[in-house]
């Protein structure tokens, strides 16, 4: 067997030439074991950092007031005052945000890639601004300036969430578009008689699916977890409800709501990834290259 770190060509050449060299196998194994151990330690620490708070939250949400194991908090959640209103508002905002973001950012990103490639740096800078500027500054600036009809609608929040989600959507789409030869694909489709709309729907979007899905998951997670803007605009979304809900057992119910939000996002992510994987598997099976 060719040893680790020795090119197979060199190894064969040395074997043929009868060169008797010490095999660095044991040393390499030792090094690899030490390396694996470090990797395991890093993985363990990082895993603990993320999982311990989640585990603690989950444990707490599955306990009653006396500390015994119970599903009571989760069972009480749908009937908790204001929960269903907050839940559906969050869902509506998430859907509107997703639709507006995709409609706005997909054509923009494609246009920048196709016609204004020199503007990509500027676009990156613009889209990163919502991360640099705190949400409280954005909402404090928007509220006095927005007309009354906009302030009286919860969907003003959706348009603000579009701004907040811009870095995630733009970067996902930018990465997706960079991974394909966009210009050639568009030109090929156009020369074959496809209109711009058909080029977009039948050639570009199917090849952007993974990027679109990741952009959607990130946007959904952001909308379902945003508190500052919703609170200042006086709309009770799920995060606002979690903070405002206050009863004797509210801690357990609030934590259960947070856990459900987290699990809901994971489930959504898992479904999307599974659909994507099963599609690729199907295509491979069809062509017999499984």
């Amino acid at each position: 067997m060719a040893s680790i770190g020795v090119p197979i060509g060199d190894f064969i050449a040395n074997e043929e030439a009868g060169i008797d060299r010490p095999m660095p196998l044991a040393g390499a194994r030792k090094k690899r074991r030490r390396f694996s151990l470090w990797r395991f330690i890093v993985l363990f620490v990082a895993g603990a950092y993320f999982l311990i708070p989640i585990f603690a939250g989950l444990k707490f949400s599955l306990q009653d007031i006396s500390g015994r194991f119970s599903f009571q908090a989760i069972q009480n959640l749908p009937s908790a005052p204001g929960f269903s209103g907050a839940f559906w508002l969050s869902m509506r905002l998430a859907i509107v945000t997703l639709v507006v973001s995709i409609l706005l950012m997909v054509p923009t990103t494609i246009y920048v890639h196709l016609r204004l490639p020199r503007m990509r740096r500027l676009m990156e800078f613009i889209t990163i601004l919502p991360i640099v500027i705190p949400p409280i500054v954005i909402i404090a600036g928007i509220l006095p300036a927005a007309p009354l009809w906009a302030k009286s609608s919860p969907y003003l929040l959706s348009f603000l969430y579009v701004i907040l989600s811009m870095p995630f959507i733009y970067r996902s789409l930018d990465a997706g578009l960079s991974a394909i030869d966009l210009k050639t694909l568009v030109e090929a489709a156009r020369s074959l008689g496809a209109s711009w709309l058909r080029t977009l729907t039948q050639v570009i979007l199917p090849n952007l699916r993974p990027a679109l899905l990741s952009a959607m998951v990130l946007t959904l997670a952001l909308v379902l977890g945003e508190f500052t803007m919703a609170s200042l605009d006086l709309w009770t979304t799920i995060p606002v409800w979690i903070v405002q809900f206050n009863t004797a057992s509210s801690g357990h119910v609030q934590t259960a709501a947070s856990m459900l939000g987290l699990i809901g996002t994971w489930v959504f992510l898992t479904i999307i990834v599974s659909i994507d994987r099963s599609e690729s598997r199907k295509s491979r099976r069809k062509t017999g290259t499984l």
């Binding site: 394909i180 030869d181 050639t184 694909l185 030109e187 090929a188 489709a189 156009r190 020369s191 074959l192 008689g193 496809a194 209109s195 058909r198 039948q202 050639v203 199917p206 090849n207 295509s283 069809k286 062509t287 017999g288 290259t289």
Partner: protein
């Protein structure tokens, strides 16, 4: 493995060829990018069913010409006419051009069959009809067994053949080939080159082929258009282009040549002590310093210990061997029979003689004494 050429010739051609190819006229095309004139009054007429290669160095404007014909870019001025119809303001979608790109351009989300059927779908053909036709064209390029495969499951050569099938399936007015072979390895490139030429002849489709590879251009095209700085240097058949280049640029770009500095006197130039008449209508002024441009086969050598030059390099090319002979300060390339070449050692002294009746001359280039192409 199936020989693609056999496939192309042996299959019955049920794919309807156009009655005859389209006539393409490019009239005074101008395209300017900033301060660069990519096309500078470029005019060209291509006869129906003709295979024309646009050949030139990088940046000479050949791809710009193709993109103008395809409708991917706006002209600053000039007209593109196909069968007399002005397409200058018609979008790429409606020009009815089949194009094969340099990079692999198959749609990654579609298998080979659907890629080929895409153009037919855009023409609203019924599903059964378009799939049958796509299968037929795929068979024509010898890839019917790859119909269900996705681009990432095919080799580069197979992908380019599918791209060719996709372009041919729509029965375009003009087939545009933008260096489709440049990303392929030598063996596949040679196979696909022959297949493209064979299909083009059988379908009588007007074809414009952009390449920087002179071997491809000379071996495939009916006529070759050599371009430089957005203009045509010379448009001729491959044989004429090689044997009778109009300009020094063409002589140097097409084939191999050596520049030998000399003086023009009395209608002839002196090359290694031999008076040679000057080819072409344009004559230099009397006494002008010029470069004679010589092909390797224009010269011959005789071993001579007192000879004027000595062999500095030998390249075995099969039947012939190419020698580089240093004559004073000028390296000269000369082709000899390989058995003769084998007898000559590096450093051997030789005499060099010009065997062609006349030679092409060009204005002296500063470092021509050391220049070969």
């Amino acid at each position: 493995m199936t020989n693609v050429n056999e496939v192309a010739t042996s299959l019955p051609l049920t794919h309807t060829p156009p009655a005859s190819g389209s006539r393409v006229e490019l009239d005074q095309l101008v395209r300017v990018y900033g301060s660069v004139r990519a096309l500078d009054g470029f005019s060209l007429t291509i006869e129906p069913g003709e295979f024309v290669a646009l050949l030139g160095p990088s940046g000479c404007g050949k791809t710009t010409v193709l993109r103008q014909i395809a409708g991917f870019e706006q002209l600053d001025s000039g007209r593109v006419l196909v069968n007399g119809q002005d397409l200058s303001n018609v979008s790429a979608q409606k020009r009815d051009m089949g194009m094969v790109f340099q990079s692999y351009s198959l749609f990654p989300n579609m298998n080979a069959l659907n890629n080929v059927a895409f153009g037919l779908r855009m023409r609203h053909q019924r599903s059964s009809q378009r799939l049958a036709k796509a299968a037929e064209v795929l068979e024509m390029v010898g890839l019917s067994d790859q119909a269900k495969k996705y681009p990432h499951q095919m080799s580069g050569g197979q992908q380019q053949r599918v791209a060719l099938a996709r372009a041919l399936a729509i029965e375009p007015q003009v087939l545009l080939l933008d260096e489709p072979l440049s990303a392929l390895d030598a063996k596949v490139r040679a196979e696909l080159r022959d297949q493209i030429r064979m299909l083009q002849k059988r379908l009588s489709i007007t074809t414009i082929f952009v390449t920087h590879d002179q071997e491809e251009a000379l071996s495939m095209a009916d006529r070759v258009c050599v371009m430089s700085k957005g203009r045509i240097e010379q448009m001729a058949t491959p044989a004429v282009l090689y044997r009778h280049p109009n300009t020094a640029f063409v002589a140097q770009f097409v084939g191999v040549s050596s520049r030998v500095p000399t003086l023009y006197r009395g209608g002839s130039v002196d090359i290694f002590g031999q008076a040679c008449t000057v080819r072409g209508d344009e004559r230099p002024t009397e006494g002008a310093e010029v470069d004679a441009i010589l092909r390797p086969e224009d010269l011959t050598i005789e071993p001579d210990p007192q000879g004027i030059g000595f062999v500095t390099h030998k390249s075995f090319l099969g039947a012939t061997t190419r020698l580089v002979v240093q004559v004073r300060e000028t390296p000269v390339r000369i082709d000899v029979r390989s058995d003769q070449g084998e007898e000559l050692e590096l450093g051997a002294h030789v005499n060099v003689k010009v065997i062609s009746r006349d030679v092409l001359v060009a204005a002296r280039v500063e470092n021509s004494a050391t220049q070969t192409a």
